[in-house]
Symmetry: C2
Subunit: 408 residues, 2 copies
């Protein structure tokens, strides 16, 4: 008998019929003898509907964050009550539970709260009574009893946190994709589902756009050693297990290829290489809530330098004037913005022990006639900026070149 | 500086525009220096939408009552958060509060819970901090922390209970009618708004179909001496104040005339007048959750009797077989059902001290050529069953005959 946390996203509970499907899936797992904690998101579209209502009554102001949280948290409350009703109607004893009922405490950072503590006793009592615990995801309560929310995709984080608190055998995340692929199957039809992947690789892939799992939930799973199984609620197919690296994982040099099209490149050309310029620039960007991805700097011979960084395209008009102010009063040098690059990346634990992986990537791109505009590397990832128009060609060339199309 | 509880019904918060109107009304009252606790119902239509979802996922079963409560309580949570957002956006400090946050404890009778205790401290803290407390009506929590609801119209009860707990100066109930009238203005255009009415009269009128106030909330107001002001949120007009009787009230013999069309009459003819028959019959009806209104029995000379009672028309097919079983095995006597009567009633505290009010009522009906099928009286009410087709004529004759058309 296992203790399993299952999380169903908004699409999986998006209609009366789909809630019935989820109830039947949960009933089967329960019949197999497992103890179940089920975390649900709001029915798809509901969070956006509530946010729009909140905006509309706010009379041109930003809605008050505490009240926005009390508002949108109802989406998960509705979904959890509906699933509990559906389970009870099928003869499966169930109990819907809200954050204040399971004492899921967070800090007071409304709309983006972080979990502090979970009291596992209320949940253990529900399980001991033979019931399925149906927990409203995404929500918490702060020390004062105010309702908080964990930010977009927070239900994944709820599920992993509950799995950690309960020492669950596995945390199953049901979503509308059936697992993690070696690359986007729409770009590369030979893309393979990865049966097993390490937390580290998942983190790099998630941040690169393969958005099957909230990055925070992967960090939390890694920290607490929670085994996460990403799968679809529409079939019984096995998905992808995200877990600690092991020897079998290490043998694979490149686990996946990711393409990120939401990239803008800002280059400051010919600035003086003075100490503190980079610090001043990136502090100002952080203060403006601009998230910087890649940073590339090369010092040239005459003490002048080119500094390049990338941001989301939506942030480029915030970043440009900050970069221009960084040129200083003398205005030597210039700022050049390119909103048409794409970033192609390869990710794999095996890179740490295999030499020449980056070189092979550059060679594969060159063979495909694709020019590399910038390069950035980490321990388990190599990213190249290329022209967006060649993005899909690059993915196919790398996927093929690293042999990812073959079933593992 | 007064402490005022205001309650806004589903129509008053039924759209973004109406929530904005309510926010502006609350802002004006706050600017006048009053301390405000505002209770809201769900946006109109929302409770029914949620109930339908609950029914739909229940797969032909009755939805589990605990989960149904967790589901529908979200309607008031949404409305309270939206009103708090609207107030904050207009510069009025506000805080939305749920039942568990103000510790509004009820029994565990899901979907029809009764309030046990309210801890007034959380609300007093909010008021002391200069904030408007925006409370989600209709909901409570039981001793275990489960969400309960107070039954249809329960937000009126929440408002009166909070006014009692806080010792508020007045409980203003905002609804889509602007007060209590001497009779239905659609039937009798000369109907007058009653500026002041006693709890007792209001109870009799409410149960007779002038449904401006939940009957439970009137009982609670009477018990705790809460002054209730029924008024509309669409204008600034004064409505009707419901309060203790006083001398000025006593001078008025008849306060109002009510017509109830949802009446079915069940008569058991010629049964033996045996002890226990009535007890057996009405116990069986109560077990079947049939609410009996009037009961009339006349013993005839030969120890046989006619027993008549009235029920809602929706209950008549439940009541009929119960009445037939009450005839016993010998099947002497017969059951006759009439689904076409109406009940016209006059209500007034002054009846207690004025003789001949009932006689005057019968005379007025006779003068209008209206036949009386049955009569039932209480201390402050006389009700007559008449043919439904003559119901409106009867209301007009009584309203005119008792001089209710003149402004008071």
């Amino acid at each position: 008998m296992a203790l399993i946390v299952q999380k169903f996203g908004g699409t999986s509970v998006g209609s009366v019929e789909r809630i019935a499907n989820v109830a039947e899936r949960v009933a089967r797992a329960r019949a197999a003898g497992d103890d179940l904690v089920v975390v649900v998101s709001a029915m798809s579209g509901e969070t956006n509907r509530l946010l729009a209502l909140g905006r509309d009554v706010a009379a041109e102001q930003a809605p008050h964050p505490r009240e926005l949280d009390a508002l949108v948290a109802t989406g998960e409350q509705v979904a959890s009550a509906l699933l509990a009703i559906a389970l009870e109607a099928r003869g499966v004893p169930a109990l819907s539970l809200l954050a204040h009922q399971i004492r899921l405490r967070t800090d007071a950072a409304h709309t983006k709260a972080r979990i502090r503590t979970i009291d596992d006793r209320p949940l253990r009592e529900v399980l001991a009574a033979g019931r399925v615990a149906v927990v409203a995801g995404f929500q918490g309560v702060d020390e004062e009893g105010n309702i908080t929310t964990l930010g977009r995709g927070g239900s994944d984080t709820t599920a992993v946190a509950l799995a950690a608190a309960l020492g669950a055998d596995v945390c199953e995340i049901y979503t509308d994709v059936d697992g993690v692929y070696t690359t986007d199957p729409r770009i590369c039809p030979s893309a393979q589902k990865v049966p097993k992947i390490s937390y580290e690789e998942m983190l790099e892939l998630a941040s690169l756009g393969a958005k099957v799992l909230q990055i925070r939930s992967v960090e939390m799973a890694m920290k607490h050693g929670v085994v996460v199984h990403v799968r679809t609620s529409f079939t019984d197919a096995e998905g992808t297990v995200v877990t600690k690296e092991d020897e079998s994982l290490e043998a694979i040099v490149v686990a996946g290829v990711a393409l990120d099209r939401d990239v803008a490149k800002v280059t400051i050309r010919g600035v003086s290489d003075e100490p503190g310029l980079a610090a001043t620039l990136f502090e100002a960007l952080a203060d403006a809530h601009v998230v910087v991805d890649m940073i590339i700097q090369n010092v040239s011979e005459d003490d002048r330098t080119d500094l390049t960084f990338t941001v989301s395209r939506g942030d480029v008009e915030t970043a440009r004037p900050i970069a221009e102010r960084a040129l200083g009063e003398k205005k030597r040098g210039e700022v050049v913005v390119d909103t048409r690059p794409a970033k192609v990346s390869i990710v794999g634990l095996g890179m740490r022990t295999h030499a020449g992986v980056a070189a092979k990537m550059f060679r594969l791109l060159a063979a495909a006639g694709i020019n590399i505009e910038a390069i950035s590397t980490s321990e388990i990832k190599v990213s190249c900026l290329i022209a967006e128009a060649r993005g899909e060609d690059a993915v196919r060339a790398l996927h093929e070149g690293f042999g990812l199309g073959a079933p593992r």
